[in-house]
Symmetry: none
Subunit: 225 residues, 2 copies
DNA sequence: TTTGCATGGTAACAATATGTTTACACAAAA
DNA sequence: TTTTGTGTAAACATATTGTTACCATGCAAA
């Protein structure tokens, strides 16, 4: 299924950074557009309706955070992906503290490889959410409605629970290592204990009322009826 | 599928940092080596051929960036992973870091947890080589599912059992010495008794219900139908 | 605001699967 | 026969996971 190239808007006031990112993302097959300050970012976002916006925090006219807030207040950009570029650690913590509605953060200095991997990861995540519902045996998983059904009866899962189940069910039978699960569901930077996975697995098993998740000791978990 | 421990070279002129990183990564099971300036880093890299090099930017003799450039110019280090350690706000090194082809960066002050998570993430990304499934006669061995099938019936093996079987089956007919088996499945550091292999072999034979592993007395074992 | 609830993370402990060693029987070779 | 190596079962130790309870947080309703 061939889709149109994803449109990416980058806003940063440093031409070097802009150029490097543009070069790398273009090479990956994206349609890349640029803006060099906050106001231009908003303006171009409106005319381009990009799939992803990469915002530097420190920009003239409007900061990335302000841009994000402006955009998020409009329904058009409700689902647009936004990545923040941050230079400083305290910026990072500041952002994370705030409810900014960004989908990811990348700190400077930017490694093109890391950025690309984050971008593709984000698009992949979105594709999954848009992907049609999974149906394995008597279990239905509908990312669009964020719902799971067992024997056509609705089961309500919390966010993390759902994401975890969806990940496992996306490749039934395949074993997911604990590491894989952590980075896919929790992200690479977030550090949580090992027991966390167990607890969520348990909750899923409990709520679904059937044993569709198999433990592979010393390795990970897999979805299996 | 125990692979040899990944080799990591850390270069930093601050002994404290070096020690903290070394301690944490060693505890994670990596083989860790250190260097305290740029020249030593290059030298040790050449003799060790590490899988990952962690370079502080600010070092005597040669900066991390220079080290990176030197190494990257050689085909041997073309695919070696490189992580930069950067102090905050170091704009210059940021820009140059981008051009030198580092795979990731971690900013100081260093959180061991974050560093470890980045390191494992990097290795995982590189490790796309998931073992291939084997199929010998009526036996199927699928590392992705961590499953063995005999006549299309699933057989559940424990981790070590699976790894052992996978090793033997990877080269049917070939005899693996007890030493080889130990180092491949258990690793070089771990010391276990001789009977341990026997016991696992026995469990595999038992679970598979057929004799596909042949004993070569005084030598080792081989997989054979 | 306060309250209550849902969520998610963690610690502590229990339960269980797995791995290792021991001990000994047996078979083959010297 | 003696020696050496291997198979087997059971005991033991350990690692891994399951489970529960508790706390912090955020959010929504009152």
């Amino acid at each position: 299924m061939q889709t149109r190239p994803k449109r990416i808007l980058i806003a940063d006031d440093e031409p070097d950074i802009l150029e490097i990112i543009e070069y790398n993302l273009t090479r990956e097959g994206y349609d890349v557009y640029t803006a060099k300050d906050g106001n231009e970012a908003i303006e171009r976002a409106k005319q381009l309706n990009p799939d992803l916006i990469i915002l530097d925090i420190m920009m003239p006219k409007k900061t990335g955070i302000e841009v994000c807030q402006v955009l998020r207040s409009q329904t058009l950009f409700q689902d647009t992906l936004i990545i923040f570029l941050t230079a400083l650690n305290d910026e990072m913590s500041q952002i994370k503290g705030l409810e900014t509605g960004a989908d990811d953060y990348v700190s400077k200095p930017i490694s093109p490889k890391v950025l690309i991997s984050r971008v593709t990861a984000l698009f992949r995540r979105i594709n999954k959410e848009e992907g049609k519902s999974l149906s394995i045996g008597n279990i239905g998983i509908d990312p669009a409605r964020f719902m799971v059904t067992v024997d056509n009866k609705d089961v309500v899962l919390a966010k993390k629970e759902f994401e975890l189940l969806y990940l496992l069910a996306s490749k039934p039978g395949r074993v997911f290592l604990r590491n894989e699960i952590l980075s896919q569901v929790w992200g690479t930077d977030i550090i949580v204990g090992d027991r966390t996975i167990d607890v969520h697995i348990r909750k899923i098993r409990q709520k679904l009322g059937l044993d569709c998740i198999t433990t592979v000791k010393g390795v990970g978990y897999k979805f299996e009826l």
